[in-house]
Amino acid sequence: MKLTKDQNDLLNGVYGEGAQLAMKIQVAIGESFGAEKMVPITRAHVALSNQDADLWLAEKLVKLGAKCRVSPTVNPGWCVPFFKEMEMGKKEDYEMMERTHEAYKKLGATLTYNCTPYIDTNVPNYGEIIAFSESSATPYANSVWGARSNREGANSALFAAITGYVPEYGLLLDENRKGTILVDVQADMKNDYCYHMLGMCGKKIGHGIPVFTGLPKHISPEALRNLGAQLNTSGAYDMYHIVGVTPEAPDLETAFGGKEPERKVVITNEDFDEVLDKISLEGNREIDFVMFGCPHFTLKECIYINNKINGRKLSKDMWILTSSHVKHVADLMGITDELKDAGAYIVPSTCPDQDIWSYLDGKIGLTESPKCAYYPQKRGINFVIRDLDTCIEGAITGRVK
């Protein structure tokens, strides 16, 4: 790879060992993808996770003196003040989250603790070259905003934030951004939940860049958030096209770059049923709790839930995970208190896949998000997956159909 003087200086340790390590790995990544050069980024988002590997890398980089040139926004771990007030969590949990917080603070990150930067905290413009990790963020930035990011890992996005560069390959280049798979959606897309199900069809869609047709003209940010999140739960997708939504897809021909699709896939209601069968526990059972906000729920969704509950009392706890901005506005609007009276909690700056939820181990949850259900399986927390309205009713009755 051809490097500039600044990039060579980074590689040779002029800016310290931390930046040197970051650059060294980025060069190896670039070479494995055949990149010819490195290009500057304007934004970064790091999928901080407060897990062992995350803390190990962040502390290692701090120790090596690394500092971010492009301050990245970060994903949530969990919100220390909130859980302290709830008197939840073990001493070790607090130690770990405080260490993660300190490490990222020292690296110079923008501590947003929010997994929907593309809606809430770090929105790119068309054509910007950025380094976004977080499974729902990369496809949204590429497909909805028309910014350019590869599907960075939490680690490679952090390296990019430190050096301020990314190797130029993949989605940074025009020719790799064209659609390859025509996905004709014949399923009924009646609400945002259906986009969770569409995203979970990754196995049927296969490797490549899907171009979705047959979708409604207006698609909500929440639906597009869901689609990206689940595409990267069921597979690995950095970009999709929706004609009329994706800036680079004004029409089908442009989406495919004038070429024929490599493959055509039809998605029907039966596919959704089949997917749900595989990923959800069977219904007709009592549940222990309800969880929303993987990825983080918007203010609109908090308002919707509050209206649906409409003063009724929940028989099971409901946890609604959001950004701290959303929580703040919900506080001002009185929604947080109304929900709390019913038995629902707006939880800021928190991810479901965190040790702080360990008191839920062995319990049965109810959620509308397959991603929320998928990762905590490892913790022995299992979920029934249903649409949002069914989940809200489930929290009231304590049972799910």
Binding site: S32, Q51, A53, S135, G153, S156, Y375
Partner: protein
């Protein structure tokens, strides 16, 4: 007779081990760190042990976080794969392989996939971009 196939280096190193072949993409988070067994329901190689094996699979999948943490947990107990042979390189998996120094290659000769069987012993030499079936 030994058969040698060309490939393309992603993460450096040379290892000799048995292979495990998966038709499905892999996410290391749903592998049990204690024994390296795949615990993802409905997965092509659910229940198989990948610890210290050379893993042949199409690509990585899953969130940008869990791939790295899954591998890290396996490494803490020495149950990581000895090497990886993939078809579709993607950044998340590539970065984790380089960071954790697990040899990895892609772009292997098509013939290799016709010859290779589960349990075969091979040498994966990423440095010289060669795979040898023993």
């Amino acid at each position: 007779m030994k058969k040698v196939f060309k490939c393309h280096k992603i993460s450096e190193g040379r290892v000799e081990a048995e292979v495990v072949i998966s038709k499905d993409d892999i996410m290391f988070y749903l592998v049990d760190p204690k024994d390296g067994k795949i615990i993802e329901p409905e997965h092509d190689i659910e229940g198989k042990v990948i610890a210290n094996k050379i893993l042949i699979f199409p690509s990585g999948k899953g969130s940008s976080v869990v791939q790295a943490d899954g591998l890290f947990q396996l490494m803490k107990r020495n149950n990581q794969p000895a090497g990886m042979i993939i078809e579709n390189a993607e950044t998340v998996l590539v970065t984790s392989a380089i960071l954790f120094e697990v040899p990895m290659v892609d772009k292997v000769d098509k013939e290799f996939y016709k010859e290779i069987k589960d349990g075969d012993k091979i040498i994966l030499d990423a440095d010289n971009e060669e795979i040898t079936i023993l």
